[in-house]
Amino acid sequence: MISYKHQLSRFFVRMGLAIFTCVALGPVIWAVVTSLLPLTALTSRPPDLNPLNMTLENYGLVLDSSRGLFSGLINSFIIATFTSAVGLVIGSMAAYALARLNMPGSSLILMMILATQMFPGIVIAIPLFLVMSRMGIVDTHFALILVYLSFTLPIVIWILKAFFESVPMELERAAAVDGAQPLQTFQHIVLPISLPPLFATGVFVFIEAWNEFFFAIILTRINVKTAPIAIAEFSGQYQTLYGQMLASAVLASIPVVFLAIIFRRFILEGFVEGAIKA
């Protein structure tokens, strides 16, 4: 027995979902369509959306090495990969120490970690820029990886700590009774069952590092321009090449959007475990 009122509410939910889908995807789809159209189709009114006109020409043009996007994508890949790998290794160790190893001063460290979410990047960017220029490491991958660790490490530690705390203590006690050393317990008991949250945080860090713009614009010059920098420069220099502008934006977004979709379960669970329960 489905009441009239019940059906009405279902109707509104359906409509809401439809509107939500259109608003969320509309701009993205428009970006993809734009990137596939030649300039003449975009500048005619109304835009000529004939699918027969669609071409990959824009993509070919923006990937030309003189445009800097290709090397930008490679730089972003190197930086994001190293940031998430290093972040996971040292972050998971610290998280485990905070969660389980009766660390002295662990609550202080936790407060520090929380505090890192509360300050603007510009505060650390200015002194870091001065120090790094003096050391001559501005415009290196290393500088950006180090800086990206500063704001991703706290998240890694925070999320993984919440997860490690949820690992049943009995499991670790049992291992200890069997004569396992703490390091062995961590390696063979805790880490293997932590793969999903490790993956989730890894993907999260990768996306953050890949997308980062603010530090990249301060700490890069020529050699390690990342993909976001390349896109921003492109949109400033060739403002009227709309199709190419959007093609470069789409290219830089494809890896992270697909990562997010493929690992959505990990990411969503990571949020549940981390952000909310912490």
Binding site: I90, P127, L149, F213, I218, I231, I267
Partner: protein, 303 residues
């Protein structure tokens, strides 16, 4: 117990070793620069050839801020931007989260839809909106003209108040999904038996929302609001790509101003002072929220 102590000592020692790398990284790339930027804000920094020279400047950087028109405007605009963004994003994200938590909205498809704007690079997002807002060929003008709402093209990023609000709109679009994700996770943490009990007591949908959903979501809502206001205060990429602060500096917000003063005007001390104002602002915000979070006794996890 006695035999445990050797094991425990080993655990503590391992704990120190385990957290050392992370602590060292955080100290060098966080703690040191934060302190240094305070010091810098009391200095005047000169670029002398290759090197730098510093002179003690007292509070001059800060007093200059107080009398600087652009700084005051940027501060007010940042506050406006943050307030509107937090209110609108939280409201919209709550609706989205409720929709996706409804049996009809649980399909994985909608989760994917939600993740797409979130994962998009902020710069790609900015480029996308730059194209949508394009005065001559942008889809926004074409759509509004097609619908008969406006009769000629509007230069969306051409006039002060409008430009700021268009940046706000693009930022809101990007921010809603993440907050919706958080709220969705919060919704799923509310035990379903609470709803069952409420229904048995004859509560209608609105009453259930008021007395079960909202209280159950309180912590998550506060977390969302904190994070959202911090992000809104930090907005940079959109301004950089869409307007570079124009027209007539009307879209210069604090973070952008601090960057421009430091890295374009090379007035490092002054830039650091602005950065620290932003820092204090965020810090106060977070304290307010943490306080708001406290009174309810949810101290389940201690130690």
């Amino acid at each position: 117990m006695q035999q445990n102590s050797e094991y425990n000592r080993r655990r503590i020692r391992m704990g120190i070793w385990f957290s050392a790398p992370a602590v060292i990284v955080l100290l060098t790339v966080l703690a040191y620069p934060i302190l240094a930027s305070w010091v810098l804000s009391f200095l005047r920094v000169y670029f002398a050839g290759q090197g730098l020279s510093f002179r003690f400047y007292g509070l001059t950087n800060y007093t200059e801020l107080l009398t600087n028109q652009l700084f005051r405007e940027a501060l007010l605009r940042s506050i406006y931007f943050t307030l509107v963004e937090v209110i609108v994003v939280t409201f919209l994200a709550l609706i989205v989260a409720l929709l996706l938590n409804h049996p009809l909205g649980r399909h994985a498809f909608f989760r994917v839809v939600l993740l797409v704007p979130w994962a998009l690079a902020p710069v790609a997002n900015a480029v996308l909106w730059k194209w949508i807002y394009n005065a001559n060929y942008g889809i926004l003008n074409q759509a509004l003209i097609g619908l008969g709402i406006i009769d000629r093209n509007i230069i969306w990023l051409g006039s002060p108040v409008l430009a700021l609000n268009m940046i706000l709109l693009a930022d809101i679009w990007k921010a809603v999904p993440f907050i919706a994700l958080l709220l969705l996770a919060g919704l799923q943490n509310i035990p379903s038996h609470l709803y069952k009990a409420a229904r048995l007591d004859g509560a209608n949908a609105w009453q259930q929302f008021q007395h079960v959903t909202l209280p159950g979501l309180k912590t998550t809502l506060i977390i969302s609001i904190v994070l959202q206001s911090i992000w809104a205060l930090k907005v940079f990429d959109l301004i950089y790509v869409l307007t570079k602060g124009s027209p007539a500096d009307s879209t210069v917000l604090l973070n952008y101003l601090s960057w421009r003063v430091t890295f374009s005007n090379l007035d490092v001390g002054y830039g650091a002072a602005i950065a620290n104002v932003l820092f204090v602002l965020m810090f106060i915000l977070s304290l307010v929220y943490i306080r708001a979070l406290r009174p309810r006794k949810t101290k389940e996890k201690v130690g």
